[in-house]
């Protein structure tokens, strides 16, 4: 087994991998950009090396510097997390050339699944259903228009090299094609260094379901059930759960879906953890969307219902071990759901809200798991994905999970920046969500943040605020008039106003 692993990532996923390393007795090594010196993943690691400036292109995307840091500290393997270099086949190959184990699939599998047009071909050949679309990337806007006419509007524009919703745009009719084309190419170039865009028929009101796969280098492939990720905004997942409420009522679809995912992994020559994403239409037909050749942001929900540790499995597979899990050993218990807590303001169009976190209280208690990449006093940098924490709950039923998440959200507190916590409070209270009546367009099409009550808070709440302010201003006056001496202040140690008797006994 490896003794030292370098984690070529940051934020909550770097913390997640560090934890798995500790659980296995492996020494975790972090890398950091100039903007991340004070970040949590640096503090949690045994060692940490600076690999460049704040821009990802100057640090977390620099293959040469990541490899140099790994060599320098004597790491035997590199975990790429998600994003950054995780689906970069050249990086996987470079690791191998440098004598380092890449904790992920073979470079060839990344490459073939990474080019979406090629992935479609492989899947179609393996008998996995694919969305009707163009066989290759469109060369220019004119060709894109041609392709779009051929598959028929509405269509999806997708980055051929992409994943995770970056560089994706749905186009309703030909009038919207030009601006969507430009935006998708811009994002694709930024995110993947490749602006090839291909075109698929848009499935109307689909659900997003995906199957978690584990494969070893000895030919064994197992699935760990599906996840449903239909709650999305700008094609980015917002809330994920397992099992899929729709599939839970259609167990035969699950059988076929999971079998298709295993077939897909085999066709891709896959090893390590991966996810096969599908669109599920209103009639229960599913279509291969893409294969993510890495750990997913939403992997914890699968861990919660199966009792597995996917990062540990990834490391074991990368070390050449045979999978100990057989398909029949994988048991599913209960339900799990994840809320992605972003430093974004849901009341201001989800604009990023970087800044200093001046208060951070995480929820705990039965059924709650938190994976947090942030710390109190730390400033969320502008340069990266603004995911600061993942809040997960497990429960025996979906209803119990929703109740536990609502409870956890009532305890969760982030001060100093805007977050999506309020969004989740409102989603979880929504009847349609509770009945699982949604598709990938639900959030953007039907869900709106409730505006604050224009009449303001009720009288009792106003009174409570006034009482707190009176108390605060009394403390202010004391501070202003001399050195602070809590013990001798008007307020005694137990919070009772000694002089005026304001806090006197209630019974």
């Amino acid at each position: 087994m490896f003794r030292k692993i370098l984690i070529a990532n940051r934020g909550e996923i770097a913390v997640r991998v560090i934890r798995a390393c500790r659980d296995m007795g492996i020494r975790p090594v972090a890398v950091y950009s100039e903007a991340d010196r004070a970040a949590r993943h640096v503090r949690f690691a045994d060692e940490a090396y600076r690999i460049g400036g704040a821009a990802a292109a100057d640090s977390y995307l620099r293959i040469d510097r990541v490899l140099a840091a790994a060599k320098r500290c004597g790491a035997e393997a590199i975990h790429p997390g998600y994003g950054f270099l995780s689906e970069n086949a050249d990086f996987a190959a470079a690791c191998q050339q440098a004598g380092l184990r890449f904790i992920g699939p073979p470079a060839d599998a990344i490459r073939s699944m990474g080019v979406k047009t090629q992935a479609r071909k492989i899947m179609a050949a393996a008998g996995v259903p694919v969305v009707p679309g163009t066989p290759a990337a469109a060369g220019d806007l004119a060709q894109a228009a041609q392709y779009a006419e051929r598959v028929g509007y509405p269509v999806m524009l997708k980055a051929a090299a992409g994943g995770g919703g970056m560089g994706m745009r749905q186009v309703e009719d030909d009038s919207g094609l030009a601006s969507a084309w430009e935006q998708a190419r811009g994002e694709a170039l930024k995110a993947f260094g490749d602006d090839s865009i291909y075109i698929e028929k848009a499935i109307v009101r689909p659900r997003h379901v995906e199957v978690q796969i584990l494969a070893d280098h000895h030919g064994r492939v197992v699935h760990l059930g599906e996840r449903e990720c239909s709650l999305q905004r700008r094609r980015q997942k917002v809330l994920e759960e397992t099992p899929s409420p729709w599939i839970e009522e259609h167990p035969r679809v699950r059988e076929r879906l999971c079998a298709a995912a295993v077939a897909a992994a085999k066709a891709a020559g896959y090893a390590n953890a991966g996810t096969v994403e599908f669109l599920l239409d209103q009639r229960g037909r599913f279509y291969f969307l893409e294969m993510n050749t890495r750990l997913q942001v939403e992997h914890p929900v699968t861990e919660l219902v199966t009792g597995t540790d996917l990062v540990k499995e990834q490391i074991l597979v990368a070390a050449g071990r045979k999978l100990q899990l057989r398909q029949e050993d994988i048991r599913f218990r209960g339900h799990a759901m994840q809320c992605r807590v972003y430093a974004e303001d849901p009341r201001a169009g989800f604009l990023p809200s970087p800044g200093r976190i001046d208060r951070l209280t995480l929820p705990e208690g039965p059924g709650i798991r938190v994976d947090c990449g942030a710390e109190e006093g730390w400033s969320v940098p502008l340069e990266y994905d603004p995911l600061i924490a993942k809040l997960c709950a497990w429960g025996q039923t979906r209803t119990e999970v929703i109740a536990r998440l609502q409870r956890a959200l009532s305890e969760f507190r982030v001060g100093g920046i805007a977050t999506t916590l309020d969004l989740f409070r409102q989603i979880l209270a929504d009847r349609r969500f509770q009945r699982a009546e949604f598709d990938t367009g639900f959030l953007e099409r039907e869900f709106a943040m409730r505006p604050p009550d224009p009449s303001g808070p009720p009288a009792e709440v106003r009174l409570a605020a006034m009482l707190a302010v009176i108390r605060a201003s009394q403390a202010e006056r004391q501070t202003a008039s001399g050195p602070p001496d809590r013990k001798r202040s008007l307020w005694n140690a137990r919070g009772r106003l000694a002089a005026a008797g304001f806090m006197k006994s209630q019974l």
Binding site: M166, S179, Q183, G186, E187, K190, A191, R234, D345, A348, G349, L351, P352, S353, P354, R359, L382, E383, Y384, D385, P386, G415, D422, P452, G456, P457, A459, E460, V461, R462, L463, A464, A465, M466, L467, A468, V469, I470, R471, A472, S473, A475, E476, A480, W491, G495, A500, G501, F502, M503, K504, S505, Q506
Partner: protein, 162 residues
Amino acid sequence: MTDHHLLVDGEPENVRLEDGACEFGGETRVASVSDLGRGDYSVLVGGRQHLVHVRRRGLGRFEALVGGELLRIDRIDPRSLDSTPARARSSPARRVKAPMPGKVLAVRVAEGDEVSRNDPLAIVEAMKMQNELRAPEAGQVAQVQVQPGDSVSAGQTLVVIE
């Protein structure tokens, strides 16, 4: 017994504190305030729990965050009732501002253009996401204060619509 005069979001209010209770709006209720530190107060009104976070805005001027709502509360010195006037709330602006620091990727309009509500004005990139800024209402573009490639800070005016 003490009377406290406050302005709550500009409205004058009066609270009388007395012996473990408070009188407000003609009602007397049992009340208890506990300073939890760092601006947090646990307030029990008739037994019901309210967590209030208080921030100072200036001497005798505070804001209180309670149940997701923000209230501006100023103390009034009864000897100079007009010393702490409530500020008028700012009127809705026609300046389209950068909501966060980032980089201008594209500007979709020029000075003099007529725009409809929701027309795209500019794209600002931050944290990997491209954010399209749209016209808050119909009008004419009076000023464009940035160009593609500019770095902008939060609150910086990008476009002015008349």
